[in-house]
């Protein structure tokens, strides 16, 4: 599947992979605590949360690994700006990394939607799957579409609870949405690629702060 060329400033090479690894670590941490929570409550929503973070973490980890491999090939050939070409006819390692990451992210966002919907609506997942699969080539647009539901639910949750943890989760989802929104315009301006990744980093930093805050609670507080 052709993904298109990804234009990256040379100085930023490596930083993006480091961000993906950080994202995966934070994701796996939330995965662990979501599973712990599920083992106590046996609630479907906690299971969706667990799978959502697990899938997205695996996606980012694979993307980081394949990216590091791709750098070895591309880096010696570029000057100020490097192009990761994924539009060739051959299915490369770069394509593989992106394909897994795209599929993992979209599936994870679906899980996040189901996390907030599971109790209210019994929506069979197979009714949603063909929608994202059909829209697969337009990854970032599909992501923004899915994330808009997640952000909307997070806004409602924040307005209902008005505490730091709900605000941090809301900010995290907003930053991830900005990350996708920014990446739509990379072909126009490659500097946006850097900003987009900073938003991704901010998103998962928010998740990390939320987790630290949650784990610091005391009984009866």
């Amino acid at each position: 599947m052709a993904i298109g060329d990804i234009i990256v400033p040379k100085w930023f090479f490596g930083f993006d992979s480091a961000i993906y690894i950080f994202v995966a670590i934070v994701g796996f941490l939330i995965t662990y605590y979501s599973y712990k929570t599920y083992s106590i409550t046996a609630k479907k929503q906690h299971l969706f949360l667990y799978w959502g973070f697990k899938i997205i973490s695996v996606g980012f980890l694979l993307l980081a690994i394949t990216r590091i491999y791709s750098y070895g090939i591309v880096l010696p050939t570029c000057t100020d700006v490097c192009t990761l070409s994924t539009s060739g006819s051959a299915f490369t390692i770069t394509d593989f990394g992106y394909w897994i990451y795209f599929a993992a992210s979209l599936l994870a966002y679906l899980m996040f939607i189901l996390t907030s919907m599971a109790e209210k609506i019994k929506l069979p997942i197979m009714f949603i799957l063909p929608v994202w699969f059909a829209a697969f080539p337009y990854f970032h647009i599909t992501s923004i579409f899915l994330m808009s539901f997640v952000v909307f639910n997070s806004i409602l949750n924040f307005l209902k609870n008005k505490n730091a943890a709900t605000l941090l989760v809301l900010l995290a989802f907003v930053f991830i949405s900005i990350f996708h929104l920014s990446l739509i315009v990379i072909p126009i301006n490659q500097t946006v690629y850097v900003f987009a990744h900073l938003f991704l980093l901010l998103g998962f930093l928010s998740f990390l702060f939320m987790l630290v805050k949650v784990l610091k609670v005391k009984v009866g507080k």
């Binding site: 929570t37 949750n157 209902k160």
Partner: protein, 92 residues
């Protein structure tokens, strides 16, 4: 699923109630505080005792229940579960 949810909440309520009574509570306090029938309360207390979350002690010559360290740890874990769930908008 709903049954299990309410069950976990009841167990948490009983443990929290005992803690609020200074770590030791008589069955009558638990009965009214947790809003349970006597039969159900006995069942939950037996379960909590079996899991080492509470233990029987003597208080003013009568049987009372005391939270164990394991019970206190469960209360803390449950608080974290509540916080994480609330952060993502998941009701318990």
């Amino acid at each position: 699923m709903k049954g299990r949810r309410s069950e976990i909440n009841i167990l948490h309520d009983i443990l929290q109630l005992i803690e609020k009574k200074g770590g030791v509570a008589k069955p009558t306090h638990i009965l009214y505080g947790a809003n349970l029938s006597y039969k159900r309360m006995v069942g939950y207390l037996e379960f909590l005792e079996e899991k080492d979350f509470i233990e029987k002690v003597e208080k003013s010559g009568k049987t009372a229940y005391k939270t164990t360290d394991k019970g206190k740890r469960f209360l803390l874990e449950f608080r974290k579960v509540e916080e994480l769930s609330s952060a993502f908008g998941i009701g318990l």
